[in-house]
């Protein structure tokens, strides 16, 4: 079993129009920038994939990554908890112009819905958002005297994630806080595509240190010196 893909272009080659795509990362850490840019390259060359629904905590910053996807016009809808931030003009402009949809989900609920999808739990109850406008239309229920909102799992067709070390069968580790949503999204997508800084040819990651077991990963590609979203945003890089 060898899940290795030789290039980021090849890794994202079969993502079709209208796909739901989870993209790992939180703020400036853990975003699979090279996979995202490979997807943008494909869109620029072929016009596809378009009409994507992108699931991420944020909605892109600066002029790279998800912001560049939005700017390029590939994204129909964002599912996220925090689209508004100091460098989020790409999303903001499209949103205020009514050119992109937004499904706003509280951060912990977003994480739990993704985890639930990966764990075969179609719905769960959470106290989060009860009594707020984000719970409108959702079933509620009282347990032990407290009110809760019922939330559904959140699945995707693809997940693009970023790890630190990976092996040929897809076992992965993450670097510090770049872990964030990546291990959850790996579980929740029909097909998970991972980029790792170091791809070990042998199956030699310590089994006790594996964070994402290979069963959750379908394709893995090495990007030896990955770009850091935060650095790209701060230096004003445009993709």
């Amino acid at each position: 079993m060898d899940k290795t893909i030789s290039s980021v272009a090849e890794a994202v080659a079969d993502i079709p129009d209208d796909a739901d795509v989870m993209i790992g990362g939180f703020g400036g850490s853990g975003a699979p920038i090279e996979l995202i840019h490979a997807l943008i390259d494909r869109f620029r060359a072929t016009g596809s994939p378009k009409n994507l629904t992108v699931i991420n905590n944020n909605a892109g910053n600066g002029f790279i990554g998800i912001a560049a996807m939005i700017k390029a016009g590939m994204v129909k809808k964002m599912v996220c908890s925090f689209p508004r931030s100091s460098n989020a003009e790409a999303f903001n402009e499209k949103f205020l112009a009514g050119e992109i949809e937004l499904d706003l989900v509280p951060q912990g609920t977003l994480a739990e819905r993704i985890r639930a999808a990966g764990a075969g739990i179609p719905a769960f109850y959470t106290p989060t958002s009860f009594g707020t406008e984000l719970a409108e239309g959702k079933p509620t229920e009282e347990f032990d005297g407290k009110m809760y909102v019922r939330e559904r799992w959140l699945k995707a067709d693809f997940a693009l994630i970023k790890g630190e070390k990976g092996d040929v069968v897809g076992n992965m580790t993450y670097r510090m806080a770049a872990r964030n949503f990546n291990p959850l999204m790996a579980m929740a997508a029909e097909k998970t595509i991972a980029q790792v800084a170091e791809l070990v040819e042998t199956r030699s990651i310590d089994p006790q240190q594996v964070v994402t077991p290979g069963i959750f990963v379908d394709a893995i590609v090495q990007v030896s010196e990955p770009e850091q979203e935060e650095v790209l945003v701060r230096t004003g890089v445009v993709y």
Binding site: M1, R115, A117, G118, A119, G120, I121, D167, V168, V169, N171, M187, T202, R203, S204, I205, P207, Q208, V210, P213, G214, I215, F216
Partner: protein
């Protein structure tokens, strides 16, 4: 009538396990239930790279260690000592059952007391006496892309285990997709047992006679054969 003698001519458990093993795909993730299904790993065809999952939090385990070499922190769900294959990983029970329920396993194989054509499975208890124990069986029947059963075709008393409706307490409803018995291989689809293979020596009538539910034919019925040297 042929001169088929069911008690003498049916497949042994090892032979059933061998047949089931032929359908384990290269590159697949598989959970083999405790007991009889575990035997399937022994017959995994050469050249196929299969990753075995066990409920207690190990992916990628290998053969049992030699006696005296056991590390009792390295066991499977049947509490038997195991070894690790390269590429293995450890995780806690919630992540382990996320793999099960979440649809990440390609195949789960379980034993059975009874299977019905609607896919219902009874394999966890036969009555209300004694101490009940369910373990992971009720979880394993959900989520895996294919849920197969390995079983003798009939009980020791000669009663059919493939039945129109399970009478023993259910493990899961509508979950079984394929059955490997001591006489035949059947798919479970759209409320029917569809016969795919049978021992060449048994006639259709004889097979139907020891089956408690209607056998359906959809295309060819192949010969169920096993290696001659395997007993």
């Amino acid at each position: 009538m042929s001169n088929f003698n069911i008690m003498e001519d049916k497949l042994s458990n090892a032979q059933i396990a061998w047949r089931a093993a032929q359908d384990i795909d290269d590159g697949s993730y598989v959970n083999l239930g405790i007991g009889f299904p575990e035997m399937i790993a022994k017959f995994q065809p050469e050249g196929r790279d299969v990753t075995y999952h066990t409920e207690n939090g190990v992916l990628g385990f290998g053969k049992a260690p030699a006696e005296g070499e056991e590390d009792w922190d390295l066991i499977n769900a049947g509490k038997k000592a195991i070894t690790l294959n390269p590429g293995a990983s450890f995780f806690h029970h919630a992540d382990s059952f996320a793999m099960v329920r979440g649809g990440h396993l390609d195949l789960a194989v379980l034993g059975a007391y009874q299977v019905a054509p609607n896919g219902d499975l009874a394999n966890w208890r036969v009555g209300s006496k004694g101490v009940p124990a369910v373990g992971g069986a009720m979880d394993l029947v959900h989520g895996a892309k294919r849920v197969a059963v390995v079983t003798d075709h009939i009980t020791k008393k000669g009663e059919p285990k493939l039945v129109e409706q399970c009478t023993f307490p259910l493990t899961g409803v509508g979950c079984v997709t394929r059955v490997y018995t001591s006489l035949a291989v059947l798919d479970v689809s759209e409320g029917k047992f569809i016969l795919r293979e049978k021992l060449p020596a048994i006639s259709m009538d004889e097979l139907q006679a020891v089956t408690g539910a209607t056998l359906h034919i959809d295309g060819d019925v192949a010969d169920l054969t096993v290696p001659e040297n395997l007993k």
